[in-house]
Point group: C2
């Protein structure tokens, strides 16, 4: 286990009706809030109204930034920064999924930065201060509600980058699983795949971290137990609650501290969504099993046996360790299929056209990870996934 | 899953040499520190000197309270409170195991309370403010370094009580596994049993919490993988590191939030140490398997099957669920034996003499838990454990 500093100060209100804490908590951080949200579904389900009531009851003045995109755009960040400056905003409240929260994070760190926020996306060490962020989560997927990372796209350049800063971590997050009842079957499946990928990115590393890996396996088992249940019965509270809380712990740092390294599949997927704007979780579901098959060899087989045995309860009585490892990978793919996710790039409209440039960009982020993958390796994995 | 608020703000510096952060972190909270420690082993292993150097380098004035007992006494708390008042202490630094940290906690909450600190032990809601607490941990066991609970004894009355307050949670804890290399085999085993008991207390509850239970199983597996290794090879860093970090997560609240209820075995054990001053972990190791056998019935057998299968990898091919459940309990007892722990009360010098009064007191704390145990139930469990 490597040395690390654990410092996760997000306060989480978890459960039905916890929105009742939004006003009092926001008021602790200021009187003028920027409310950030997406396409307006929160106006349909009553959440917008509830939030506004909370703000009103605590005399909080609200400025709105709506229309944050899935795969949030730098243009929207810029708009938010301007609003914060114009209205002297004290605190940012993001209501939505990871895209909305990520957008809020980069806004929060860019208000005091006098150049373009895209600089922050490329190098978050330029952040000098952040406005505090509160979140109300409506989708179990990215874990942005409890982590210090944001992913922002510039579609004009086909660029999608992740950046992180301690000040990005929300000070308060409200996690009410009932807000995810209305998430579609497909988005529920994509969110579950995203959560599972976060866990696996911290699981497949080269540094020993027995405890972290056992927790990771427990979280993966939770996704497996409840992912399909939530797809089949959207208002299953236990399923939604377990997925939501697992989503936060998948990526809030606990799993990686002491053993982390650069991720493996996310960089390859980010190129897919940067070029094709596909749903991130779908891209991960497609690529992950192919990546696993590609890196399975004598140096990794023991880890894949752990994965198969401890996560998927694969029998130890198969003919050899490779059979066990492959059965684990097969079960992962089967699970994604059962949830209704795609398993090939063709299914989401991607062909070989941009493989070269996508692989070129992805491979730069893949050095020092579980396995060093070259541009050619990435092209091979993309081709297998076609 | 029940509603809950998660709020664990302790910053943890984990790993070799992290003491180098003690001065800078203490200085954030003030200029005058009360240094609390135990019997002086920190003077032998150089830790005292390292800490004093840190304080000196950051111009922190130090007042010392040494000699905190295992099963810390209210008399020592009273002494600490007087020192804090006399010297206008800003911040408390506890260096040691759970006893030292627990003592520091009740001191921290009693300085601003004008009556006897024992009132706080009996009812922590009387706390109006706490001095900030930093800890340097030297024993993996109680988890006090990251939780909000303290256990204090008044041996003049054979009383041992736990109390909790949000202000008791350390603001910073330094966890350097090398500080536990010198912990004796027996104390290592007792500490491991204590950690496992904390996990099991949150595992055996009546509220569904699938994710929490899977994490709990992973933490138990970590104790099993490394407890014996640390006993056999005291300077095994991975073993000490895994036990130390697991000890914090066993009880910092994550496992219980959403599903917690009053604990089962701790109240029965607290009476043993209150009357006989035995090591807490040893008492837990003795009682836990007997408690499990006592509460195993048709209403609990499924949970014990989970425990056997997921924690101990008991084969599903035994004749029936009770056989699987019992095999899990047997493996737990065998594990304690392998670590050199006692399995009967006689071995630690306890006979029937005080069973009546101990059971009377314990049973009052056992209502609303996994199983409601009457005084007679507790006497029966004590008798089986003789």
């Amino acid at each position: 286990m490597n040395n690390f500093t654990y410092d996760i100060k997000t306060k989480v209100y978890f459960g039905k009706g916890q929105i009742s804490h939004l006003g009092e908590e926001t008021a602790l951080y200021g009187k003028k809030a920027l409310l950030v949200y997406g396409g307006g579904s929160i106006k349909k389900n009553g959440l917008y109204e509830e939030a506004m009531k909370e703000f009103k009851n605590h005399q909080i003045e609200v400025v709105e930034l709506s229309g944050v995109e899935p795969n949030p755009r730098i243009e929207t960040v810029r708009k938010g920064v301007e609003l914060c400056r114009k209205h002297n905003i004290d605190v940012i409240v993001a209501i939505g999924g990871g895209s909305t929260i990520d957008c809020a994070k980069v806004i929060s760190g860019s208000v005091s930065y006098d150049k373009d926020p895209w600089d922050i996306v490329l190098d978050a060490s330029k952040v000098t201060s952040c406005l505090p962020i509160l979140t109300v989560l409506t989708l179990a997927a990215t874990g942005s509600e409890m982590d210090a990372v944001a992913v922002i796209s510039d579609m004009s350049k086909n660029e999608k980058w992740g950046c992180g800063h301690p000040g990005f971590r929300p000070v308060v997050s409200i996690l009410d699983p009932t807000y995810t009842f209305s998430v579609s079957k497909y988005q529920t499946a994509c969110g579950t795949a995203d959560i599972m990928s976060h866990i696996m990115e911290s699981y497949f590393t080269n540094t020993e971290g027995f405890m972290q890996d056992r927790i990771a396996e427990g979280l993966l088992r939770t996704c497996i137990a409840y992912g399909l249940r939530a797809v089949k019965q959207p208002d299953d509270y236990e399923a939604r609650a377990n997925l939501m809380w697992t989503g936060s712990w998948a990526i809030n740092d606990l799993l990686k501290l002491g053993k982390g390294c650069p991720w493996s599949v996310h960089p390859m997927e980010h190129e897919l969504s940067a070029f094709y704007d596909i749903t991130h979780g779908a891209g991960l579901a497609i690529l992950t099993p192919y990546w696993m098959e590609y890196v399975l060899d004598e140096t990794s087989v023991d880890k894949f046996v752990d994965f198969a045995r401890n996560v998927w309860q694969v029998s130890p009585h198969l003919e050899d360790e490779y059979a066990i490892a492959k059965e684990g990978i097969k079960r992962l793919r089967d699970f994604f299929v059962a949830m209704g996710l795609p398993t090939t790039l063709h299914e989401v409209g991607i062909n070989e056209e941009h493989f070269d440039i996508m692989a070129e960009k992805a491979s730069k982020k893949l050095q020092g990870g579980y396995r060093n993958l070259t541009k050619e390796d990435v092209i091979n994995i993309y081709k297998k996934a076609l």
